[in-house]
Subunit: 356 residues, 4 copies
Amino acid sequence: MNTLGQILTLTTFGESHGPAIGGVLDGFPSGITVDMEYVRECMQRRRPGQSTVTTGRQEQDEVEFLSGLLDGVTTGAPIAFIIRNTDQHSSDYDELKDIFRPSHADYAWLQRYGIRDWRGGGRSSARVTAPICAAGALSTMALRKMIPALEITAFTSQIGPYSTNPANDMDYSAAMAEKNAVRCPDSCLAAKMEEYIHEMRSQQDSTGGCVTCIVRGLPAGIGNPVFDKLEASLAKAMLGINAAKGFEYGDGFASASQRGSEHNDAFCIEKGRITTATNHSGGIQGGISNGSPIRFRVAFKPTPTIGQEQHTVTIDGKETTMEAKGRHDPCVVPRAVPIVESLTALVILDQYLTSK
Amino acid sequence: MNTLGQILTLTTFGESHGPAIGGVLDGFPSGITVDMEYVRECMQRRRPGQSTVTTGRQEQDEVEFLSGLLDGVTTGAPIAFIIRNTDQHSSDYDELKDIFRPSHADYAWLQRYGIRDWRGGGRSSARVTAPICAAGALSTMALRKMIPALEITAFTSQIGPYSTNPANDMDYSAAMAEKNAVRCPDSCLAAKMEEYIHEMRSQQDSTGGCVTCIVRGLPAGIGNPVFDKLEASLAKAMLGINAAKGFEYGDGFASASQRGSEHNDAFCIEKGRITTATNHSGGIQGGISNGSPIRFRVAFKPTPTIGQEQHTVTIDGKETTMEAKGRHDPCVVPRAVPIVESLTALVILDQYLTSK
Amino acid sequence: MNTLGQILTLTTFGESHGPAIGGVLDGFPSGITVDMEYVRECMQRRRPGQSTVTTGRQEQDEVEFLSGLLDGVTTGAPIAFIIRNTDQHSSDYDELKDIFRPSHADYAWLQRYGIRDWRGGGRSSARVTAPICAAGALSTMALRKMIPALEITAFTSQIGPYSTNPANDMDYSAAMAEKNAVRCPDSCLAAKMEEYIHEMRSQQDSTGGCVTCIVRGLPAGIGNPVFDKLEASLAKAMLGINAAKGFEYGDGFASASQRGSEHNDAFCIEKGRITTATNHSGGIQGGISNGSPIRFRVAFKPTPTIGQEQHTVTIDGKETTMEAKGRHDPCVVPRAVPIVESLTALVILDQYLTSK
Amino acid sequence: MNTLGQILTLTTFGESHGPAIGGVLDGFPSGITVDMEYVRECMQRRRPGQSTVTTGRQEQDEVEFLSGLLDGVTTGAPIAFIIRNTDQHSSDYDELKDIFRPSHADYAWLQRYGIRDWRGGGRSSARVTAPICAAGALSTMALRKMIPALEITAFTSQIGPYSTNPANDMDYSAAMAEKNAVRCPDSCLAAKMEEYIHEMRSQQDSTGGCVTCIVRGLPAGIGNPVFDKLEASLAKAMLGINAAKGFEYGDGFASASQRGSEHNDAFCIEKGRITTATNHSGGIQGGISNGSPIRFRVAFKPTPTIGQEQHTVTIDGKETTMEAKGRHDPCVVPRAVPIVESLTALVILDQYLTSK
């Protein structure tokens, strides 16, 4: 249930206010040297509290590896790692013990399990995505060795009313995205997005947005034709991120209003090898990569935790109102960027291992 | 690989031009009486050649059950079924043997497996979705017994430039959708869509579109919090349909431009039970159903097979042009409606069985 | 549930008296040429009615392949195949409808599923092993291409009081075993076994026995260290055969009375490569092959269907007596030989694919 | 790969000389109160260094739970736990870095992964069974709530030349087995076994043995008919224990020399309910429990680590001799008893959850 992947599997565990969160990465190739500094950087990118646009909550996210490594090299044994929960103010959540927060998983979870960890969302907290970043860092290192040309770049493509033009998607680099706090590679737009997030914060409100991801350098022939399609595996992984509401690849929902004659990607020969003249398909046909860049987009809803007064009910079934105390993250999208990259690395490595 | 589901699994097999296609449904509850007439109806709905808007190809799609039934009642043993391929004109495809059709899986498949079944798309043909409808019919019968209030309704919500208004989604019934060939519950719009499809056909072109699906009557508490989320499982299943390019649930991509204060669904008490005042969430929170209707939408690209001349390359790497002969289906969307319903029934039954 | 394997999976279906039995082999390598004559031979070996020591029941076991092949070559798509049930005398079983046959699965199945296919054991019939042989034949063909030196040889090593000496295990060849009806490579012993089986038949009784299997030519490094160990996978597969009661590999149960100094296999150098001086381990250490021959043994109980009068109860809970009518198979062991070989081929190929 | 189970899954990780070993138990029922004292006891039973018959190595085996619990009650979230490795003398193993220990997994592992953790066997160490005991303790607590009558009792039934009489299996209780260091319920035999182990130690040698397990109180109808049979799942789990060489249930290998008329278990009525007059079947028929006690036996080889001089080769392929330094465990069988019980609890709970 808490496991993603077929051959390379990531099992995550942990709640926001338990002793630790973590994961077990199984089926990982042996002989990969782990660059701990790179892992730390990847964790750091997801971490709240790094910039003015994110939550003030401080999560140190120090990863401890427990197994699967010998002198920093993977051995083929399962790689377990944990991240201690340190900045937990469980008592902050005491008042939430008897209430269902609107658009949070509280009510659904209680109906499912008959018991609920009310402390900061428990297993449904965004904090549970931290282990994904550690696993993504490792997967990226394996991919770099196996497919040196591979490059996975995700960036913020929409915040509230501001979006990049999909026509420019292929012009953006990871470096451009990392230049600003919202992780939007268009610096002009980035400034507006940042301002909009500050506005939401000042209004005790929040905003949604989108992350776009481009995978360059994946050879043709990676994926599977039915059910475990490359795009279906990506969709499942992305919809697994907290607050994700949609997934599209290639021209996505825009394809619905296109004609075949405009959507079809003609094959052609470029520098002696087969490629496509356009890439409306987003690099995947029939579940399998076709050698063109993979391109997909993930939509995120606005953070449900807002400071404004909201109508809700208590666990006893009484109507009431609530307002979230403290300082909240008005937009999760910039922090979702490294999670999207991490899950992409995991899915690609898994599909690569099954396609060999 | 060719298997969907956790406890209830559907494994499909077959190519468009092999002897037969079919599936094995395992983990299916025992004691369910199978209404063969209903199975036939479900198969009939997906079948091409039923109306003026679909392909002229005749597929009889007669399902033969091979196991798992005793006097028409399920026994708990795996239910295998096959559908013979009868209307195969493999020779029609002889000219495609040495060519990669644009935006088809031909090239990607050959790179993946080193061998390709060129006859009508082989395993990548839309024909492989037929077993899904048989399995969906069975799952629907099990759900009717287990959750009598459950109702799954899918309909065409977009064809090319014509779309329904999402605000009306909840007003549409299955009966309204089945009244016309395009399966759009808005009869006015349906007429325009039908005309548009005919126009595409006369231009040797094709069009994309969208299917919307509503699940009413699912109790709260069905689903899983991480990775195997209800929405992630639906996304994976839907992206598994041929030509699917996107998935969104609740307000989906529109959430990206919303504020928390407008997106959040306030809990309230209605007739003594907890419900939500609005349903921007689409009935799922944190991977688990919350008792409100599930609502999602799937985007489909235009059929890649078109009669117009297209640029492409041969398997020897030479550039060439091609045009698909014969009569093609200019829009798969109406036929995708029963597939979306079937996969939804499969996913819901599987998640229900894991959540008990 | 009805699936074996990790990467290469075999899902079987079918009951002895339904329309057909069969299987789906998924994850099978592409590019393997299928020798249909070899498949037929493998099926023929398992089939009852071939000799004087087996049941008189005639099963033609004609395999029809439905998918995954193009001009007799595997394409990487799932390979489905069916075997029609022809010689069904369901009415023979009418009298068993209301009775639980001793040491059959009738009672347990009814408790599990609340419904029971009483016709010839239904899903619990030995007939369900036929698809295993078809899948085994295919796996053997793939292994021959991938590991040309590999050789899997199973033979009858015990029937009732007569057993071969394990010390001679390595001297026996498949050809020696196939020379007689009981499939025992020691012709002297084979004659006694055959006579014993005839004696059991004349007494309306049955006998148990053992099958030994030797895998030569498997390179070191195939398998997995924890849970999915090569020996654990073999054990699971073998205990999946009807009537199997035990599994041991290497010195097996005899190891329990050995000392480390006699059981340990010293490493040595032979013709420039590392090998072991003895093979008490049976070719596997810590879940992974060590390059020495794999050696294991499977115990089978006597066929529960016997002609003698037996005490039992009706489904209404009344004590009664019964005696099985007709001609029964007094010993399943010779027919289990090809099943053991087939499952071994499946497990080895699966573990080989995971270990690459 | 490192995961056991279908619905309830245990993934273990860790090497003997890494920072920690542990596990993740997923799919565990919510609402089970965890008795930490009981977990500690279960861990303690497996731990070496408790008595004169085991190794002198001190493993504290303090379990830390990281997730899935709220105030000591399971929440339905994955339960992760770790056990720090404290008594590691990695340097003790320095001399083993360049040598393959006879009948250890060293050589096979290196061939599999191209890298080997030479420190105390790494992932192939017996230490990796510790997490199984923690998971077993939790599973036992869930079973006690779900099937109050259930009782799982394992005991040492053979050490070298000394074995209990299977005819007495049903007379032994857990209390009787726990009275002595070898965990044999026959105190007379226990004394001889203990003496024999001491003799092996003084000779720098080791001995094999057997563990028998009895499961009382499991209702009929738990299990699955094909491949995932109850007995096949038990076999796989047991063969997953380090040094296990064989598995048999019911009359096991003895069935091979029996006749149907003596092996068959007649059904009869006892106190108004259906049961069997004898239990040669070992409580399972066709993969499903029949309501009689489950009875099986596991064979273990002698510990491969012995003090005597042994012939072996270096990783450079040179022949050499070695002798294990320090104090070794001449018999793992008494410590395997709680591991057998734990795995039985895991398998039974998993099969129970799939059979509901």
